[in-house]
Amino acid sequence: MGKNFWQAGCLMLLGSTATVAQQFPPPADAPAAGSAQGDVSVTIYNNDVALVQDVRRLSLGNGRVRQSFPDVSAAIRPETVSLVVPDAAIVEQNFDYDLLSPSSLMEKAVGETITLVRTNPATGAETRDRAKVLAVNGGVVIEVNGHVEVLRDDGLPVRAIFDKVPDALRSRPTLSVTLASSRAGTRPATLSYLSRGLGWSADYVALFDDKSGTVEVQGWVTLKNTSGTAFSNAKTLLVAGEVGSSDDNNGNYTPRRRRAARSVPGAESAAREQLGDFYLYPLAERTTLADKQTKQVSFLDAKGVAASSGYRFENAWLGSSDEPRSAQSVLSFSNSGAAGIDDALPAGVVRVYIRDARGQPQFTGENRIEHTPQGSTIALPTGDAFDVKVQPTTVSRVRQGDSRWRTAVRYKLTNARSRAVTVELIQGGLDWGDVRVVEDSAKGERRDAGTYAWQVPVPANGSAVVTTTFDTRY
């Protein structure tokens, strides 16, 4: 792109013949029926970036020609445009966004002469005058037959008719390129640019069967086109990954933080085409991406994937509650080859369904996953359990010295279900100071400086109690 431009600049400096204004036909931006797009390929990334390649057949004359490109994305990033035309070099690229509107039309007519058609409100008789527009500042001041007046000062109907549309005004933002063509003739031109307003994510439907401990996972890629432009019959490629975007270009692009769903990242390679670290999801057939359309295409259908449901409760430091609080319901499964999904999972929303007593799938919650490499274990919180609750209680806080406390905590776990469950009980917030567990009634595990975790079995229609004492120094 840069090279092309410099070549073009050199060509211009070397200076062929002086160009005449007439050799620049005004850009053909009057939208015709149907689209002016050619053979379109769209590559869509996750973070509101898409690469559009559009191969159009252009009929060019010899010498300096101006060519406009209607029907490019309305959300184009004009600074990223590059054009490759055989036997032609680019002299300059313009992106005109001075739009045609009643105000801009009148402003451009300052100093010009327009036609006024006055209508007599009583008789309907029309009289015509030629008027010169003197100024458009808050109102339109005109000169008619040697008098100066304000347009429609009396509120009576007056049609202002302009002779032509000024060349500089466009009905849509328009990309136009001036080319130095070395031969006349029709040839393909490859236009490529980045656009906003095109994005994709994944949507998963996970049907969980508690009895067999399996989940059926369907994956859909969801494309959204809010660019304001339709791309018809486009070759479409989706890239699972984020390219550093120029919007936050301070040289320190940091990937976003992971959200509530937790996963143990895997180390398997999926049998997908890869581009560097990104996985590619090409659509099998050409498709039309209409404006304001959401399109979904299946990419994954896995049955009999081993899965389990569990419970998790995390208590904040000194979290104490006067009533039991629900534990999270967590669905865990793996996308390893052995477990059944056998694919990397692009970021998206997983919706979990369970069949009711009549066999109809019912929704039981959803959560977002990030890009997940193959072989990962995913723990997806889907909601709060109705029947499994935990009541944390700070039993005592005893001062041991200037900056030392001994804190006794009791957790009462209750289970109103008719089968035994195991709750992953986590005490968080232990990394404020030097915190040690002096004693605990069940064997726990210090996961990291901040958390201490227990796996607590709770019998059916029963309860369990865990007590622990922390020794804290600040």
């Binding site: 159009r56 009643p102 058609v117 209508t119 409100p121 319901s329 019912q362 109705f386 209680t393 109103a416």
Partner: protein, 516 residues
């Protein structure tokens, strides 16, 4: 001009050079044959629902009979709920599977008509306001719809409706791809022509439900009857006729979704039309008549002078089934959920349920409390042996007393999800008869430790009961785990908080001195 047209023609030809595929047949399904609706509560909703802004949602399962042709076809689904979350749509039962699913949201509106007709011929009609004579002429839309519309007529270039004349645009037809509502469609390729039943499942916003508990104290005041309505609301424009309706209790995790954009109106902006008098200050006057609000709700029922006893409610549905970690309530018979309507069906009926009446006022050490009133709570154990033992989903509570002269409202409150074995609390109002007073007492002994040390402060609590009956009061002091030393008596901790629970006889009074 000619050159422009020529260039456009060349470009159009270039666009047409790409191979065109045969247009697939479109099969439209106007409405579902059978529909099932599972309504989910707003995850953090409390108390009553706001019918104008329902934050819950529903899972809609529709069965539609559709005739599929052989080969590639586009199936359009009409009459889906307005609040559909399009990415959640799942379609089963297609023999040829789903090639792609689309949701098109280019809506037909005044602005999109101009947008879709840009560059094409329209009919511009001017009507003479004096004579009513209409003059039509051909015109072409040159620019629009934002911020104004420019047309090209035989006379030249004009801005629409800036002249003060009555001007009207007439279009040949609706531009392709515009529809009145967003349209959900799937592309499928059937191996043979067939009539199939397609199941369409999707999540839709604009629904909600609550349990509305009505507790009635028996005449003797010792037990109560607990009844609950399932209050469902549908804020969508679509009604669901004779639907299987379920309600799901429990809190689900949801992911925030983008809010769909509105179809746009046509806003015409003209060139500046200020006149020689338009900069004068505008004066406003009081309106002659008060503006009447249109938000009046008409209750279509009549209240008799002596209200008859409430009719026996219909039998409640059987106890809910477990749906994973949620509870699913099924309405036994198919029912119609109308558009923009609230509906109530019986959820449960239990009774008689014994209860304990407690008064409560938490205090903090050091806080000055001056004869503060106490809240009254009826405490129910959600156990089989105590007449309950059913899941109690979150909702609002209303407590009534049955008296010889009629019903009397005692208290209104809210409740969260309560499962079997938990405590269910019914708000029963506020008592000014039972009061709590706390003062900071001067220490009677010389202070031995530093003034900031635990136990160096002293407070005095006084409670009194002006009722002609005995009451039990709970006064939790401070926070969980806090060290509170009562003088002369042993006080238990309740949920980690030191809680003084004196039993007060009629007209009784009690005192507690404590260190903190």
């Amino acid at each position: 001009m000619l050159r422009q047209l020529l260039a456009a023609a060349v470009l159009a030809a270039a666009g047409g050079a790409t191979p065109l595929r045969a247009e697939p047949t479109t099969v439209t399904s106007a409405a579902p044959d059978r529909v099932s609706l599972s309504v989910y509560r707003a995850p953090y909703g409390r108390g009553a629902m706001n019918l104008r802004f329902l934050e819950g949602f529903a899972l809609v399962t529709e069965h539609r009979r559709m005739r599929l042709p052989r080969g590639t076809a586009v199936l359009r689904f009409e009459g889906v709920a307005e609040g559909i979350v399009p990415v959640s749509a799942v379609i089963d039962g297609l023999p040829g599977g789903t090639i792609e699913k689309n949701r098109d949201a280019r809506l037909l509106s005044p602005a999109s008509l101009v947008d879709g007709t840009l560059g094409r011929r329209i009919m511009l009609t001017r009507t003479d306001k004096a004579t009513g004579r209409a003059v039509s002429q051909e015109a072409k839309i040159v620019a629009g719809p934002r911020p104004g519309v420019i047309v090209q007529t035989a006379a030249g270039i004009e801005a629409l409706r800036c002249s003060g004349l009555a001007e009207q645009l007439g279009y040949e037809g609706v531009p392709a791809g515009l529809s009145s509502k967003p349209v959900l469609s799937v592309t499928t390729a059937s191996p043979a022509a067939a009539t199939v039943t397609v199941r369409l499942t999707y999540l839709a916003s604009g629904f909600d439900w609550r349990a509305s508990y009505v507790a009635t104290l028996a005449l003797d005041g010792r037990a109560l009857d607990l009844f609950a309505w399932m209050t469902l609301a549908n804020g969508n424009d679509e009604g669901f006729h004779q639907a299987e309706v379920q309600a799901v209790a429990g809190r689900l995790n949801r992911v925030a979704m983008a809010i769909p954009q509105e179809a746009s109106a046509l806003r015409l902006v003209c060139y500046p039309l200020g006149t020689t008098t338009s900069d004068l200050r505008e004066r406003t006057f009081e309106p002659a008549e008060p503006i009447e609000s249109a938000d009046q709700i008409v209750v279509t029922a009549m209240r008799m002078m002596a209200p008859p006893p409430p009719p026996a409610p219909p039998p409640p549905p059987p106890s809910p089934e477990d749906l994973g970690d949620l509870k699913l309530y099924r309405i036994a018979a198919p029912t119609t959920v109308a558009a923009r309507a609230q509906k109530q069906v019986a959820l449960l009926a239990q009774g008689p349920v014994p209860f304990e009446r407690r008064y409560r006022r938490p205090v903090y050490p050091g806080e000055r409390v001056d004869a503060a009133p106490t809240t009254i709570v009826l405490v129910l154990k959600n156990e089989k042996k105590d007449g309950l033992g059913v899941p109690l989903p979150a909702g609002s509570t209303a407590l009534y007393a049955q008296r010889a002269s009629g019903r009397l409202l005692l208290g209104l409150g809210v409740s969260t999800d309560r499962t079997i074995g938990e405590t269910f609390r019914l708000a029963a109002g506020v008592s000014s008869q039972v009061t709590v007073t706390q003062v900071n007492a001067a220490s009677r002994e010389p202070v031995l430790t530093t003034p900031t040390a635990v136990g160096s402060h002293e407070a005095m609590l006084t409670v009194s009961n002006a009722n002609p009956f005995a009451v039990t009061l709970d006064v939790p002091i401070g926070t969980a785990g806090q060290k509170i030393e009562a003088e002369g008596q042993e006080i238990d901790r309740m949920d980690g908080i030191v809680t003084w629970s004196p039993a007060l006889p009629p007209g009784g009074r009690a005192e507690l001195r404590y260190h903190y």
